[in-house]
Symmetry: C4
């Protein structure tokens, strides 16, 4: 860790604990956070199971309160320890943090906002931030780079798949009757995608001979064209693998800007690339 710390005091320490992961306390904080996030998502799941909710409603609610209070304190600490709080509040993770915290409060203010409680499952998204801890990060960024490079080709592929689905869905709607489940063109398109992607629920299935023949064509098409995204991604992975072996070094720095919480600074950076403040 070359970057020299200039700011000091408890706010700075708090910032290091909450936003970074290269001190023992920072790592501990992240670990506790991950456990609480996973626990809170498990709570959401258990509450949705009627048999469990009936018997353990109180236990689940108490645990939910404990987690909500922790998340509230954490949110306040994040606001205090950063220099430009508004930038954090309106950042992607700032919004996720806020939305993760409020559902329980809202359920008391708004009647019938039980739906909001399920929103808590989005807390899982927070884990992605804390992944700084995990050593797999380099691998993930490699995958991301390869996927990014093949983005345009995959977009073309999905575009062709969608047009094909609309046209095939319309044809199937003309051929098959309502009784087979093809009640409207959107539903026929839904069936076409179910078939093309080889999912095949069977809730809607062609009954006529012509319909079954066409379904066969769609299936073989779907079975074959899966080769296209696979080919694209494989070639891209292969290129990235070679590139990486030869030259590039992945810079994993867990520091976050004390002003705007931007991450991914170079190891030798002294200023934030986002707001220019000293790190």
């Amino acid at each position: 860790m070359k970057a020299h710390k200039i700011h000091s005091g408890w706010k700075n320490t708090l910032h290091e604990i909450i936003y970074e992961a290269d001190t023992p306390l920072g790592k501990l904080f992240d670990l506790v956070l991950i456990i609480l996030i996973v626990l809170s998502v498990v709570l959401v799941m258990l509450e949705s199971v009627k048999e469990i909710d009936v018997h353990y409603h109180k236990v689940l609610l108490t645990l939910e309160w404990v987690i909500t209070i922790f998340f509230t304190l954490e949110y306040i600490a994040r606001l205090i320890s950063i220099k430009k709080p508004w930038k954090y509040v309106f950042s992607f993770y700032g919004i996720i943090d806020f939305v993760s915290t409020i559902p329980l409060y809202l359920s008391y203010i708004l009647a019938g906002s039980q739906v909001l409680l399920a929103v808590r499952a989005f807390r899982l998204l927070r884990i992605f931030r804390i992944l700084k801890l995990v050593k797999f990060m380099g691998e993930a960024s490699q995958l991301k780079a390869a996927l990014k490079a093949s983005r345009a080709k995959i977009a073309v592929f999905i575009y062709v798949v969608l047009i094909l689905s609309v046209i095939m869905g319309t044809i199937m709607y003309l051929i098959e009757s309502d009784e087979a489940g093809f009640t409207s063109i959107p539903r026929s398109i839904y069936w076409t995608i179910v078939t093309l992607t080889t999912v095949g629920y069977g809730d809607i299935a062609p009954q006529t001979n012509l319909g079954q023949f066409l379904a066969t064509v769609i299936m073989i098409l779907g079975y074959g064209i899966i080769a296209v995204p696979t080919g694209i991604v494989t070639v891209e992975f292969s290129r990235h693998k070679k590139g990486q072996t030869a030259a590039s070094v992945v810079h994993t720095n867990t520091q976050a800007c004390p002003s705007c919480a931007a991450e991914g600074h170079r190891d030798d950076a002294t200023n934030c690339y986002n707001c220019g403040d000293l790190l």
Copy 2:
């Protein structure tokens, strides 16, 4: 744009707007056309949903008339602004354009031609022509080249899959009874393809032990042989990627021949490769 324009007048300008996409007006025209095509396909879908059609029939019909009139005017403009109209009329896109325009008129002439209205969904095919606009075009042509190169191998693959399906389907017909859904050999073949492509609707499913054992063999076969098209396409992509990096340059020219509307001319072309007229 090196190619020099010799013809002039409003016909020429109209040709540039309608058939090409390198002037601001040409781009605007294509954008409007894409929006109208997508809108008209959404209309087709909405009309097929009974609940929506009952309430909004008039609105949908009015919008459909607006689009039909626009498409009619566009079709006439295409005919006027081109030097060899018959060549356009009988070209692939000429037929698509015509078929996209007439359904609403026909529904008044022919009774019970509601089926024709669904044909409007084919308008989506028109979008492929306008894709000149989109920057993904280079990617698409790369994919197309790779698929073209692996065409023969994929044909062999599909051929083997089909023969396998017929033979396996016949065996399953002999083993399984009518009650399980294997009522005829074509239907058994349909089931075999459903299984081999790992779609698996479940509308027909083997009931006997021997049938289930054979189904298992078909599944593992289908699960394994998907590797074949994937392998073919991946290797082909990999070759094209290398080739492209080394030498080839993709020539994207949005010009269309003023005589026959042929596209894909070289950047430095002065004559149409199709009819020989000056560009």
Copy 3:
């Protein structure tokens, strides 16, 4: 065609027409044969559809007799024109030819041998021999070589998949009850393979929470391990592609040995590699 013909007479000419494909008559014969084979398989299919068989039984039977007589004559011609008939009779294609010819005769001798009629679908296998005609043959042999090279790895893969299926199937049998369809271990294994290969009929589906959790694990496993055969085959294809570009030339010779009907001789061969006779 370098190989010099020593034998002469009508037997030799017949041999060339029936077994080879490098004379116009030989090509015509193969074309007629392919059409008749496909037609006869279509007949088998149509007969199995009750509604069609009821109305057109006589037409179908007449056509079947025409084809059977042609196949009988062809079989006799094959026997006459070859020097070592017994070697042909007990070769793979000799047996297929015989089995393709007799079902109609047998259905008159043996009562209730309707099952034998369906055996006619195996006639499709005969097409593989006639593929000499098709130019895709080089591609097919490339695919075959690549698959042959990855045979051992694919065997290991299928072996692991089967062991996994047996163990997972047994566990699911212990967890799930009879009502969910898991009535015996073989049936549970059937379900496991249906799930692992991502076919998913839904005729048997887990009902308990633990069963559904385990099913989830099997699905993700199956979803992931499909990568293994794909990877193997892709790498093998890639190697063969490279090898082929550099050095190897595919020798496609449509000649067949006049004595034993062995095929695949080198272009410059003068003696059969199988029986040593002159070509």
Copy 4:
């Protein structure tokens, strides 16, 4: 086989027969063991089929006793012929061997322990040890090495798939009602994984328009992201293939340490890499 044997006597011979596979007797022993393991697993399966168990219960039980006694003797022989029996007892295969042997005994001691009888299917795991025999072993170790190298990337992939499933499952739970089968969030997540992996049972299927639209998104996602593990594994296979051609040689040595039964010694090893004893 360079490694010199120092220990002698019948224990040593027994060790060679049971633990190794480079003597004729050792190979025979392994072959008998494989047949008995497969037979015993088939017995477990047949017993679970009610119709078969009713008629042949006595035959099956007798055969099971024969196998159990053989396995008991084998287990005792393994204990006697090894120098450090406790190390074997608590090794992976030691536990598997023990668990494979006792179920029949336990079913007499404990009432209602029929469940234990199904545990016998785990005997299949024993086959992996005996695979020393099979020549495919080099291939298997190659596959294993490639999968090991792509482990981290596949972990990232599964992690992303799981988070996606939880979030998508929660959204579907909010959209779809109980009647469609989305009775709780865990069940919705189960459905999401069924859909994402393209298994698609159809026991739970979305009914609302919004639900079907979202299902469509999940399907296309699942259809597309299968490319990721495939790409990873293919690239890894490709690297291992190249590495292997260039330098590495696979050392397949079937010797096992006489003290601790550790395997995989180098061909030129004189001491066990695990416990240091002479081989």
